[in-house]
């Protein structure tokens, strides 16, 4: 298999795995449950932000794997599609779902910044992968 095709795919796969692991395992938010009226407990919204970002990480991971088995122009399309996924990955914890109110909370101080950084880097990586694969396609 073409090494120049494996590297962008590997980069995307690594970012996908990191996005899943960062929120769920490496820097998880607190696991406090909100007590409901009937005495049960539901996770707070920071938990759901992390789960949603992990799903997006899964999409990026799948995109990386798929880019290995398709033509270069299709792979460049996959990388281009990663860019809005990464933007969504930033917007979900920042404003769409959000997290705890206090900036000193674990989710706001550690988990979300890690997701912002990873999504930003992943987005930049996706742009580079897209440009590289597109350029190679034009050269060919």
């Amino acid at each position: 298999m073409d090494l120049k095709k494996i590297i962008p795919a590997a980069v995307m796969m690594i970012f996908g795995i990191l996005l899943i692991a960062a929120g769920l395992f490496i820097l998880p938010p607190c696991d406090h449950l909100i007590e409901t009226a009937n005495g049960g407990g539901v996770p707070m919204k920071c938990h759901w932000s992390v789960v949603a970002d992990a799903v997006l990480g899964g999409i990026i991971l799948c995109g990386g794997i798929m880019s290995l088995f398709v033509k270069r122009d299709t792979a460049s399309g996959i990388f281009m599609a990663m860019i809005p996924v990464c933007i969504a990955g930033i917007l979900i914890p920042a404003c769409i779902i959000g997290g705890c109110s206090m900036p000193t909370m674990k989710c706001r101080a550690l988990t979300f910044p890690a997701l912002y950084v990873l999504n930003t880097l992943c987005g930049m990586g996706a742009v580079i992968c897209f440009v590289l694969t597109k350029k190679k396609e034009e050269r060919r």
């Binding site: 206090m102 900036p103 706001r108 101080a109 979300f112």
Partner: protein
């Protein structure tokens, strides 16, 4: 056909050896990241220290014996705490020679019931006598703080006009403070009557026994009269009333000096690492450029043969290292920004000293200094190797290569 310029030669050289270009850029990026990160961290701590100096207000804080470190923790790091002082101490302290003004405060910690009910520090001030907090909250609210009204720190998520509930009692937010980088950012200010009510609510919720009188206080803030030594007045207070009221004092100069000294230590470690990385970077660049120029003797000699002057070869080598340095500098600054700015709250909590992000102008000057350092180190290291190479005659260089 495109004309061959210095830039096209440099570009083709960089793309011909991508691993070498990436490696050199990474070394410069490391240097820039260290310098940029160090500058931002040290200026954040220094800004926090400036705010501490401005916001402390009182010369001496008198607390119950054994609560000195808790009071400091509440002021510096916003570690919520509840403590009380014998109310008779206020009048006694006011009578001590050298005390120009004395004002009571009440410190009550709210409850921690899991994640989102984060414990906060409620601070009750006496608007009639207060000379510490009132001067800098008057700009934020209209008139004095009425009963049931609160002013919140910058890190408390509550808008002006909204309501917050503590111990099943609702308080109206009438103002928000500016970011101070201190414990005040996670504190809530109220008048002393409201604070007494909160203290009784807290005692009831936590099943503590609390004396039921109107003179409840936690600390007395003392303004020392002009011409008196602050430490001497603090000692006078302790000598006169420590045994009777179980007093201890926090001298703001001492607290400021402690924080200042820990920031100085931290900054000196940062400077040490910056210098080490700068030396290491220059050495690595010297070695790599020396090896590279040596391996490209034939190429440079050919340029000389086809008419390039020594100066042109020299500028070609400098331009290549300049491009590498700029790329490395940008990468280093971007990577460090990705660490420092999103994680500023986590850094601030872990450092434990007043920490306030610098202004945009300071950040831009840190960027400029980092880029300047990269531009000096990179081309500086290559200039030495280039000068050595261009000092030789083209004939002897060609003979060595052949």
């Amino acid at each position: 056909m495109k004309p061959v310029t210095s830039m096209t030669i440099v570009k083709s050289s960089l793309f011909r050896r991508p691993l070498r270009s990436i490696g050199l850029s990474a070394v410069v990026a490391l240097l820039c990241a260290a310098i940029f990160g160090g500058l931002i961290l040290s200026s954040s701590m220094n800004r926090g220290l400036d705010t501490l100096e401005k916001r402390l207000g009182a010369d001496v804080m008198v607390v119950r014996y054994g609560y000195e470190s808790k009071a400091q923790g509440a002021i510096l790091r916003g570690e919520p705490t509840t403590f009380y002082l014998d109310p008779g101490a206020l009048d006694a302290i006011s009578q001590v020679e050298g005390v120009a003004a004395a004002s009571p405060q009440i410190y009550v910690a709210t409850l921690s019931a899991g994640c989102c009910s984060y414990p906060l520090q409620l601070i009750g001030i006496d608007p009639d006598t207060d000379f510490t907090v009132t001067p800098w909250i008057t700009g934020q609210i209209k008139g004095a703080l009425a009963d049931g009204e609160i002013v919140v720190g910058s890190k408390i998520s509550a808008d002006v006009g909204s309501e917050l509930q503590f111990f099943k009692r609702v308080y109206k937010v009438v103002g928000r403070l500016e970011n101070t980088g201190m414990g005040f950012d996670t504190s809530i200010f109220m008048n002393i009557t409201t604070a007494k009510q909160a203290a009784h609510d807290a005692a009831r919720v936590s099943s503590q026994e609390l004396q039921d009188n109107d003179d409840l206080i936690s600390a007395v803030l003392v303004d020392v009269a002009d011409g008196y030594d602050v430490k001497e007045v603090a000692n006078n207070i302790l000598r006169a009333h420590a045994a009777e009221y179980h007093l201890d004092t926090v001298v703001s100069d001492n607290m400021f000096n402690e924080v200042s000294s820990s920031i100085r230590n931290f900054t000196s470690y940062i400077r040490f690492f910056e210098i080490m990385i700068a030396v290491l970077t220059v050495l690595i660049l010297l070695i790599v450029f020396s090896v590279t120029i040596n391996s490209r003797r034939a190429e440079f000699s050919m340029y000389r043969v086809i008419g390039a002057t020594k100066g042109r070869i020299f500028s070609l080598i400098l331009l290549e290292s300049f491009v590498i340095s700029i790329i490395g500098a940008v990468i280093g600054i971007v990577v460090m920004s990705e660490i420092i700015f999103p994680f500023s709250n986590a850094i601030s909590q872990s450092i434990g000293v007043p920490f306030l992000m610098p202004s945009v102008a300071t950040i831009l000057s840190a960027v400029a200094v980092s880029i300047l350092a990269a531009v000096i180190c990179g081309p500086g290291a290559s200039a030495l190797c280039a000068a050595k190479f261009t000092s030789k005659e083209v004939y002897s260089t060609m003979r060595e290569v052949m």
